[in-house]
């Protein structure tokens, strides 16, 4: 009995130390090359992808990296292509942090991080050429698909961008374009079921057919966020780690190892070239992992569908 209460006391002290001197608490762990959650410094948290959790969206995916949870959903709508690019569709990417995800966000007071991540996702997905916008055309100059890709953070526990990008990519990867055709009024209607008679009569149906089709994906971008503190380099930081040690560096690579983006938003720690190289090396390893996880999730999705 006595031993037990002593043990409890010891535990209380650790918890109090963690709250009162968070930086010292972390540094004592780091000097032993281990993190408070028992991870080595260069190991990411367990990562999983739940395929197609929402049947009513055109595509969806949920990603968990540790506790960080992201849900992405795609809704397809029809747009009139602009005159500059009459045979291209469009993608609109938005990242949301609803109040459920973190105690820092309240209704009417949105998170500062959200627009930043939103813009980063846009940059990465557009510059990686993941999607060929020409594939979104329905009838040149008349109609094209607008892809509304929206990512919601359900639980914020660090490395938000990594999880958001992975869920966005997973949703895009299993997006299927429904069969449609143009009717007499120039509006696009579903051609499922009634399709065969329609396509025969209408000469101007361009990209419409009777089968759902997948998009041909270019190189897929994956990312890894590293936290820099003194001489230490922590991979895939949690929310607590990010709040105590604020210098981050995000590397985005594609599957063939091309660097798509390198993002270091200030912070007290400066990244030496050697550190940056280390980060890129760690990211290359992580990309292999993520690629495998994504592949498994997609094949699982195919099994569900067939």
């Amino acid at each position: 009995m006595e031993g037990k209460s002593e043990e409890l006391e010891g535990e209380m002290e650790v918890e109090a130390y963690r709250r009162l001197f968070p930086l010292q608490f972390y540094e004592r762990h780091l000097s032993d090359s281990v993190r408070p959650d028992a991870r080595p410094l260069n190991k990411a948290r367990p990562t999983s992808i739940v395929p197609a959790p929402l049947p009513s969206a055109d595509a969806s995916a949920m990603v968990k990296i540790g506790n960080t949870t992201m849900l992405s959903g795609i809704k397809l709508e029809i747009m009139f292509p602009s005159s500059d690019s009459p045979d291209e569709g469009c993608i609109a990417i938005d990242f949301h942090m609803p109040p459920i995800c973190s105690p820092m966000v309240r209704p009417g007071r949105p998170a500062e991080a959200a627009p930043v991540i939103s813009q980063q996702l846009n940059n990465v997905i557009m510059s990686s050429k993941l999607i060929d916008l020409k594939e979104l055309s329905i009838a040149s100059g008349k109609a094209a698909w607008m892809v509304y890709l929206e990512i919601y953070c359900l639980d914020a526990d660090g490395a938000l961008f990594d999880a958001a990008l992975l869920s966005a990519v997973a949703a895009i990867a299993h997006l299927e374009i429904p069969p449609v055709c143009l009717n007499e009024e120039g509006r696009v209607v579903s051609s499922q079921g009634q399709a065969e008679t329609n396509t025969d009569n209408n000469g101007n149906t361009n990209n419409s057919n009777t089968e759902k089709r997948k998009l041909t994906l270019g190189s897929i971008p994956f990312s890894l966020t590293c936290l820099l503190h003194k001489q230490y380099l922590l991979v895939d930081p949690t929310d607590e780690e990010e709040s105590i040690m604020p210098s981050l560096l995000t590397v985005v690579l594609d599957t063939s190892g091309h660097l798509i983006s390198l993002y270091k938003p200030g912070g007290p720690v400066l990244a030496y070239t050697s550190t940056t190289k280390n980060c890129v090396a760690l990211a290359t390893r992580r990309v292999k992992e993520l690629e495998k996880i994504l592949k498994e999730a997609l094949s699982e999705m195919d099994v569900i569908e067939n």
Partner: protein
């Protein structure tokens, strides 16, 4: 890109709307009129929150997070009872036609009214409990699911309540009463009745009726809802017990 797309007007292609048909007393999803959808409930969905719950009733999927009791907003005056703050929003892809994703004011205030009578506000003076709900997918009867899920999240957060709050709605089609309606049924119902109650105390904290109802019909619908509410209460209690036993 995002700013450019904001100016483009888009529309959803015309997909045929499904109307519910009731042949031989069976609904489009195979349920009988007085049969609820299968419910999946789990606490602790969001780690960052003090308490949270996830609820899935058919295609209706909802997450509720509870934060606090925490410091009230600076502008708030002193209050010797706690405050309850509720907010409900939908994801843009939750509805068949893409939505705006902004806060649903009506549901927020309904959620507040449904819960305030059940929470012992005097147990946390000067502070606020925030209840935030996000509808991931709306497959019908969202508000009852949000309310039940919110009370589960409050229990998970350890907020003192008189009883769990459960809610069930029925749709009325001419002479038929259909419990726990799905989206298609709700969009062409003649009327609807929603009950929020504390099953163990046999108290109704919120009741709404729309459409035309005769008095005996109101009785019938209330009995149906109250029965389903008490069953839902049992399921929720089971869910909490399960969560507590896995913790130990």
């Amino acid at each position: 890109m995002a700013s450019k797309s904001g100016t483009i007007s888009t529309y959803s292609p015309l997909f045929s709307r499904k109307n519910p048909n009731f042949t031989n007393g069976v609904r489009s999803d195979g349920r009988h009129f007085h049969e609820c959808r299968l419910a999946f409930l789990r606490t602790g969905a969001v780690n960052a929150a003090s308490g949270s719950a996830y609820a899935e009733f058919g295609n209706t999927k909802v997450i509720v997070s509870v934060f606090g009791p925490r410091e009230s907003k600076k502008a708030m005056m002193y209050s010797d009872t706690g405050r309850l703050n509720c907010s409900v929003s939908f994801t843009t892809f939750s509805t068949p036609i893409r939505g705006q994703g902004s806060e649903h004011k009506e549901f927020s205030s309904m959620l507040h009214k449904a819960l305030e009578g059940a929470i012992m506000l005097e147990t946390f003076p000067k502070t606020t409990v925030d209840v935030f709900a996000l509808v991931l997918e709306s497959g019908g009867s969202e508000l009852p699911v949000i309310i039940s899920c919110a009370s589960l999240a409050l229990a998970d957060a350890g907020i003192a309540m008189f009883d769990l709050v459960t809610s069930v709605s029925v749709s009325c089609f001419k002479d038929d009463l259909v419990i726990d309606p799905v989206f298609e049924e709700e969009s062409c119902q003649d009327g609807s009745l929603m009950i929020v109650c504390m099953p163990l105390r046999n108290e109704v904290t919120q009741l709404t009726v729309t459409g035309e109802w005769s008095t005996p019909k109101v009785h019938e619908a209330m009995d149906l809802c109250l029965g389903a509410c008490s069953k839902l209460g049992d399921i929720m209690r089971l869910c909490l017990k399960e969560a507590a036993s896995t913790l130990q």
